[in-house]
């Protein structure tokens, strides 16, 4: 959905991630970009250059926060320091919505700094939804949860990944950050049909989409974010936009980062794949 209650009723277009190698270019050239996504944790500090830079960006651009360590799926309660710092950042950026991953990554206060896959069970879905509600109520901003790439599945799972995602977002009454590349990567690693995934999620809850590049190895695919988006992912993205409407879309490029113009050009390719969705909407 272009604008809905899960993305603060914002009809944002195509954005890119704000990354260190591009800071100088952005500040000097002030290129036209619909919006930037920032990694929240990079700016959850108390002072110094990161916040100065963020303020300069905020003067010129729309910014949306994307987190990597809230771990909605961890059994632990949310970390208070984390929440306090995140709320301060939300106030600073006035992000219209905030996203983080449908995963876990910490237990007993020890952090793996990874996006670990969930066991898809009803109890895990209830706990995850409870934490999403807790965080949203504290931060007072809409939340979208992102499906992750995964390399393992568990015997304990009671449902498919898309059923689990649907269960969580319905229980939490939150939005979805639909990462099309992650669906593709997981579909290859776990041999499921990515189109079935897209067809069976609550489309009206999609508040944002991600596309990215990945790397194929002999026996699995890794979500590396170090390449242009590959054709099968663009096709999947086109299908997602037909199903969900044209949401705010962001290209993730986090490693071997090329020039700003190259990244932005790659992101704008999304426009080539949303024609059908636009026709359907008009």
């Amino acid at each position: 959905m272009p604008a809905n209650r899960f993305n603060g009723q914002c009809d944002y277009g195509i954005g890119i991630g704000l990354r260190v190698p591009h800071y100088a270019h952005i500040l000097a050239k002030k290129p036209v970009v619909d919006w930037f996504e920032i990694i929240s944790e990079n700016f959850m500090v108390d002072g110094g250059r990161p916040l100065q830079l963020l303020d300069q960006i905020l003067e010129q651009y729309r910014v949306v926060q994307h987190g990597v360590s809230m771990y909605f799926g961890s059994a632990d309660r949310p970390d208070r320091t984390h929440l306090r710092k995140l709320k301060a950042l939300v106030k600073r950026t006035r992000t219209p919505w905030l996203s983080d991953h449908l995963c876990w990554g910490s237990v007993d206060g020890t952090y793996t700094h990874d996006l670990l896959p969930m066991p898809y069970t009803f109890a895990a879905a209830r706990r995850t939804a409870e934490k999403i509600r807790m965080v949203r109520d504290y931060l007072e901003v809409p939340i979208c949860v992102e499906n992750v790439s995964s390399y393992a599945e568990f015997h304990a799972s009671e449902m498919t990944e898309w059923e689990f995602l649907s269960e969580v977002v319905e229980l939490a009454d939150c939005g979805i950050l639909l990462d099309v590349n992650n669906i593709y990567v997981s579909s290859k690693n776990h041999s499921f049909d990515p189109y079935a995934y897209l067809d069976h999620i609550p489309h009206h809850r999609v508040g944002q989409m991600h596309v990215a590049g990945h790397t194929r190895f002999e026996k699995y695919i890794l979500d590396t974010h170090d390449h242009p988006v590959l054709d099968p992912v663009w096709k999947l993205y086109a299908h997602a936009t037909r199903r969900c409407g044209v949401s705010a879309t962001l290209l993730e490029w986090d490693d071997k980062i090329p020039s700003f113009d190259e990244v932005h050009h790659e992101a704008l390719k999304a426009n080539e794949f949303i024609g059908d969705a636009k026709k359907a909407a008009s």
């Binding site: 002072g47 952090y111 793996t112 066991p119 304990a156």
Partner: protein, 309 residues
């Protein structure tokens, strides 16, 4: 993290089950890699890791349960080792890459991350080196100082800046009662080696290497030009920032004593007395003028009180 359960729960019907499952998998993910950088063949209780992994991870037609778990185990270690390497170019230069690699693996094994942000990953490194001198022998004293210095840079980069005290604020209380806080981003270091110049040399070398070649490097292929370890030499330094740029300011010993006394919460008059009788008032006034212009003084707070190294 608490000890993992003997077995992962077959069903996850509650948050307690979920926690047991996550303890089991997290313990495997952060378990040290073997000598070939693979998942260890044995689990903590001596059982075959392949059997333990198969209890909770499904295999597929290309990867066994063990291999799927190994992917996460390897990604964890590669990611965190890279983060520690990035934090510690000076320490790497002191120890050399192989010794640093052994140290980093030992540190991460004993002190896994307790923070949501990788920014804090090296916060406990200097204390760890103190407690495990064999890992850095025969350069332990130097290694500890470099680790303290490199953590001070992290603090200087992004720790809080509180409102700067003005001359009017200072005039409001008599020196006998006036207490000044130091900005949280300042770390005062009394060192036995000139670590500031050493770290600058390492940074210059790394900048030159980056400019000389755009070829991507693998960690295994890193063979940096050696920067000579510093000779002993007493050094007093404040690691701080100014206009959001990182600086290392050398201090006279008496100036260092004044600042550490202020940071410990002692009143201004006592702090100045700590400088010693041989320091002339004009000199102290000049120091204070410089520190004021750098914005180093703020209202005293408990958070950083007494923090000095």
């Amino acid at each position: 993290m608490k000890r993992p359960p003997k077995h992962a729960p077959a069903r996850i019907d509650s948050t307690a089950d979920l926690r047991r499952f996550q303890r089991m998998m997290a313990a495997a993910v952060i378990r040290p890699l073997d000598a070939d950088d693979n998942l260890q063949q044995k689990w903590v209780d001596g059982r075959a890791m392949a059997d333990v992994a198969a209890e909770y991870i499904k295999p597929n037609d290309r990867l066994s349960s063990f291999e799927r778990l190994q992917l996460y185990n390897q990604m964890y270690w590669y990611r965190l080792l890279e983060a520690v390497r990035d934090d510690c170019p000076g320490l790497r230069a002191v120890l050399g890459e192989p010794a640093f690699e052994r140290l980093a693996r030992a540190y991460l094994t004993d002190c896994p991350s307790q923070s949501f942000t990788l920014r804090n990953l090296s916060a406990r490194l200097a204390d760890y080196l103190r407690a495990h001198p064999r890992l850095t022998a025969p350069h332990t004293a130097l290694a500890i100082e470099v680790a303290r210095f490199e953590w001070a840079q992290t603090v200087a980069f992004d720790d809080a800046a509180r409102p700067v005290l003005t001359l009017a604020d200072l005039a409001a209380s008599p020196p006998r009662r006036l207490r000044l806080g130091l900005q949280p981003y300042i770390t005062l270091l009394a060192l036995r080696h000139p670590i500031d110049t050493f770290v600058i040399s390492v940074k210059r070398r790394d900048v030159l290497r980056a400019e000389a070649s755009n070829a991507p490097e693998s960690p295994a292929g890193r063979r940096p030009t050696r920067v000579r370890r510093p000779r002993p030499g007493r050094t007093w330094v404040a690691v701080h920032r100014h206009h959001n740029r990182l600086f290392y300011k050398r201090l006279e010993p008496a100036a260092f004593r004044i600042l550490t006394a202020l940071q410990a919460g002692r009143p201004l008059a006592q702090a100045i007395a700590a400088a010693g009788p041989r320091v002339k008032p004009a000199q102290i006034q000049a120091w204070f003028t410089a520190w004021m212009s750098l914005g180093w003084f703020c209202a005293p707070g408990n958070k950083r009180r007494g923090r000095r190294s």
